[in-house]
Symmetry: none
Subunit: 203 residues, 4 copies
DNA sequence: GATGAATGAGGGTTCATTCAT
DNA sequence: AATGAATGAACCCTCATTCAT
């Protein structure tokens, strides 16, 4: 999407950072290239030297965020740890990501523009949720093989786990009903969700 | 939000119907007051006699839609029916609503504009999810009292139930990854979710 | 081209007059809608209430000018008058039209944009030169029938007559070599051209 | 116009060749300095080292084209040949030049921009039409002296001859009504024009 | 001398809003 | 109460020009 024989990687970052701030506040449609330029500290013309247009800039922004966020959600999964521990850790990190300012922003914009930019939503899905689900499903399969879980459809179970983590906090953040989440709140959601999951799929 | 010493309730309805069609197709930013006026069959000036502006019209539209859609999700709950049956029926209707064109549209718009119109998101939440959760939590409490479920936090359990229904289909619809859902797909999600719920909270 | 269920004929005229002044100075590409709006004394938005865009405005302008100019070039042709008289009178009016500010402007713009707006050039041709040629050819035919001229191809003879009128003054005006033409200059060109024509085609 | 203590004549030629291609396709307003730079294979900065700006570059381009095209329209005039033959040959070459792609292009651009670049139109006139007219007028004078023509104003007669050659084909090409001209069409126009000219001015 | 990234004024166009009718 | 013509700020984007390298 973005031109990656890019003129100056530093300036591209600068632009994307500015764009992130503006997109965050105003959404895709609401964001103006003028404001993004001002926020990024470059001229409007420079925006168009780095990105083909607004849609392209938005795409590059989404792609970068996905790539950034998705790393290390599962970096230190230890198959020998008790399932409860792994589930708790993964669930916690997922909630943290989904309720973070940028995570929230990404979700909002991708959902809002999915009808207009379906390929963007797909990019987002592949770079984010799909990878997370694949990893989780893999882990569940291994736990089944090890006799520690009993799951018929690991992929779907992974989805259930992730949706359970979205109870209460995620929805409220998405609807701007709350401005932040505390560690205690997160812990409560994670524990309850993990317990439900294990009662259903544990051994 | 809207002026409720309203000039002519009939004309207000007429405008909101036009607005609904346009917002549905184009979203908030994409909708133009001209198109809404044309679609509603009134002049642009009349729009401003009934609503203070675009944001106000949007608010009134969301409010009315919420009120309209949210009715009777639970109209025929029978406390004597087996819990599994009730859960299945409620879950099924929830998925149908969330993946319907209008349900999806509402969700997208409210989430998209939550940062800009927080009070709108709140309206939506109160008129929709909050009422559904309250009803469900009430039913769970009654089931606990009847010794048919064992739940510590009925309100939260209700949220978990609803999030479980959002696995797979809802997310994919929201991201425009799929264009429709089949009854079989719905049934699979509902059954798996209800089973998980009952294994955790049943008796 | 222009919307002729026009909002206010007076304002449309006002806009077209402003457009004429700006197009005259800057040509099609060089003219800006902002300047046209300012020159016409209306807002930019109003321009777009009356015309679909710049190309449409330009088209309407060309059409109006053609319609205006072309009338009465031949209104009072009297078939009983001596051919020399008729030719002189028509030739004189033709030079006057071609060297007038608007006539010049029209020619410049239509020729300049013919590659980009061929249908415009065609409109111009049909509304202007084609009609003039047809009328002239008709007159020539009648003069032949009356035994006062001897012409094989009346249509082509008409073209030759008109091109003869373009010697000296028209080209120089088109190239901005001169800013105006005097009546004496016109008379000289007309007489010389008519004499040449009659020596060749007269009887 | 162009800086003639020029940095490298070779590079200047290179730039003008690129400019010619772009101006030919897009006209003055439509041509962009970026495209010209790319087409010429130099950087945009270099353009500005050789030419003061777009207008200056355009001027240099027109000047060079005039100098190039105008040569040898009359190189082989033989005063002993019959006037009809000479006139036919000159007329034919004139039509060919005026209806050629480049001739047409030059005419269009110079006429289009005459109001904005009057000195440019003058350059064009001096380099092209003026020289052609002077040569032709000279030949006519010599023919008069030799008793083969009888013309009062040789200069003006030369203009009439040239305008007669512009009947039909030139106008239609200029208005993009036709895309090409055949030899037969040219011959018809030349013969008819020459005959008319000789009936009027021959002896 | 040559480069091309950066600039920012200006391009055509849209549209929420106003107000005279 | 209803109209819709008029407004003008703001939109995205282009491009002639400059200047640090």
């Amino acid at each position: 999407m973005a031109d990656h024989d890019t003129l100056s990687p530093e300036k591209e970052r600068q632009i994307l950072n500015g764009a992130a701030r503006v997109f965050a506040l105003d959404g895709y449609e609401g964001a103006s290239m003028s404001r993004i330029a001002a926020e990024a500290g470059v001229s409007k013309g420079t925006l168009y030297n780095y990105f083909a247009g607004k849609a392209d800039l938005f795409g590059a922004f989404v792609q970068r965020e996905c790539a950034t966020r998705m790393t290390l959600l599962f970096d230190d999964i230890d198959d020998d740890a008790p399932p409860e521990e792994t589930l708790t850790q993964v669930g916690r990190q997922m909630i943290i990501m989904l309720t973070s300012d940028t995570g929230l922003l990404m979700y909002r914009m991708v959902v809002a523009e999915a009808a207009k930019f379906p390929e963007l939503a797909d990019t987002f899905y592949q770079a984010g949720p799909a990878r997370a689900l694949a990893r989780m499903a893999g882990w569940i399969s291994r736990m089944c093989a090890a006799g520690r879980l009993r799951v018929e459809d690991p992929e779907f179970a992974a989805e259930q786990l992730f949706t359970l983590m979205q109870a209460r906090l995620c929805m409220r953040r998405r609807l701007q009903l709350i401005q932040s989440v505390s560690e205690d709140e997160i812990e409560a959601v994670v524990q309850s969700g993990v317990r439900l999951f294990l009662r259903g799929y544990g051994r």
